[in-house]
Assembly symmetry: C2
Homo-oligomer: 332 residues x 2
């Protein structure tokens, strides 16, 4: 079967992404062939494209972790789904982006990475579900044990994961302080449920957190930035607080602020959703929570903007502009 697939033939900026027409293989044992309807964009793809992801691209390289679609064919021995099922891919180390990436009209992926999504959601929403909510749930609830008495500080809060974290922290009953670089995104983040929003390039972040919390600080901090932000976040943390670092948006080195770490007995944990979902029990627990949250309305994917497949370069440019608020989805 011929299909239009996004590939790149060298690392670089958004412009290296091309729509190639390729022959898609039939699914092998343990694999499923998907007809893709919508693709969710993530930082992991930008990093793969730039050649700085933990997986190195093999050229011509496919790309993409997250998509919603319809089961088109089952490989030998696969009984978990039927043709026509509406499914989406979950983040997993089992999926090789460069070999099995889901940016395109079709993809052949391991059955382990395929999950049904709530039937009330559109394909666009289905492509904006698993990565963001699994990432936020694992750190905030499963590891962090977020409770109603807690203060959660969520940085880069206008990203899809940031918004998912706001929704989950509010569902847990915590006080939510969101940060974003400039105040132009404040109204949107308040609308999305944050109790307070701090513009980190315009305000003194630790001072504002201490003011809001009456000097207590934040017990759980969820941050994809690192770099100098880590020292700032230590100043905003409560004694015995935990900072989950789940990304590397800052390009340079990160200092470890030893003295505040000792003085407040702080913990920093490196956190990756790909690692979190390795354990089937964890994935099942998170999936149940997310289904329930969608059903109750506590969780609702926020779509920043959609692009058609032939505008994949523009979609990646938009991702890197950092002007979005919510998930960027490409429709097929």
């Amino acid at each position: 079967m011929m299909a239009r697939i996004v590939r790149f033939h060298q690392t670089g900026g958004p412009e290296v992404l091309r729509l190639d027409v390729v022959v898609e293989a039939d699914p092998g044992p343990g694999e499923i062939s998907l007809r893709i309807e919508a693709i969710g964009l993530n930082r992991a793809e930008v990093m793969l494209r730039q050649g700085i992801y933990h997986e190195q691209p093999v050229f011509p390289s496919r790309i993409g972790y997250e998509a919603a679609g319809v089961v088109a064919a089952l490989g030998p021995g696969v009984a978990a789904f039927r043709e026509g099922d509406r499914v989406a891919t979950v983040p997993s180390f089992v999926l090789s982006q460069t070999k099995q990436g889901v940016y395109g009209e079709s993809a052949v992926v391991p059955v382990e990475v395929v999950l049904a999504y709530p039937p009330s959601l559109s394909a666009v929403q289905g492509a904006a579900l698993w990565m963001q909510y699994l990432t936020a749930y694992g750190a905030l609830v499963d590891y962090g044990g977020l409770e109603p008495k807690d203060v959660a500080l969520i940085t880069a809060a206008s990203s899809s994961v940031g918004i998912a974290a706001i929704q989950i922290a509010k569902e847990r009953g915590a006080l939510v302080i969101a940060t974003t670089r400039h105040s132009d995104k404040k109204p949107a983040l308040l609308e999305l449920g944050a109790d307070h929003v701090i513009a980190s390039e315009e305000e003194d972040l630790p001072a504002r957190v201490m003011e809001i919390t009456g000097g207590s600080g934040a017990r759980i901090i969820f941050d994809p930035i690192a770099g100098p932000m880590l020292t700032v976040l230590c100043a905003a943390a409560a004694p015995y607080g935990t900072i989950y670092e789940y990304g590397a948006l800052h390009p340079g080195e990160t200092d470890y602020p030893l003295m505040p770490m000792l003085a407040k007995s702080l913990t920093i944990t490196g956190y990756q959703v790909l690692d979190y979902v390795r354990t089937p029990e964890r994935l099942a627990r998170a999936r149940d929570y997310i289904f329930a949250g969608i059903a109750s309305g506590a969780l609702a994917p926020v779509i920043d903007r959609t692009f058609p497949l032939d505008q994949i370069v523009e979609a990646h440019r938009h991702m890197e502009s950092n002007t979005q608020c919510g998930k960027i989805v490409v429709t097929v």
Copy 2:
């Protein structure tokens, strides 16, 4: 009552320590007067003397956290002890080193910092008990949950806390890898119970840990050094491992190794025994464990060397020489 008390009148090297004859006040409400028999030396005193501790000295400044002695007088309302009881001080934020420091023939301290010690121990051993075992127990057992299947990596292992950590980790049944800078201390550390000893300035620390553990790495790492050592320790850590940072022996900055932290989902926790023992339940749990360990012989304070009180300057010089193996105690 007149007493010889170690004080310093300016920050600086060991030579700023003096033996001043002062009038010791009577114990006030909630205080106990101790006749000191033995003084345990700790890094916290070196830092106070240098002016880099979280408490700033007020001149003339007393000094010292840890001592064993005999109850000489009780302040009004104090009923927990009787005159003549053999006791030692525990690390606590309640004790101000600069006002109530225990280096000297006597000290007047808050009753909260006084505990009986096992009667089988000498005063010298009693002054080498609480700081080291409470520090190691809190991180390795109470927070870290060390189990027989675990690998514990203990750096600066020839310090009193390092040796206490070796004894506790062995009592828990874990495999213990100790590190020390040079191989001259290897025989002593093996004799003290370490399963393996790595000379960190002569060997490739992560490679040796991976060799010893068959590529798994260490789940619990207990380190007072920080600085560049933190990056080395991340390379020696097992996935999901935890590094407890409990000191700042390295004088410079510490890098946070973001990529290995993310790749292996590592956790770093800033840990201070003064914070750990704030909770009475924790202190009681740790005390019971330490009493039982002394009774069984699993724990036994190792004394590097004793100095008489009038050689306090030499004792501090010896502390800073980093040639010791075990606790340095000053006898009165």
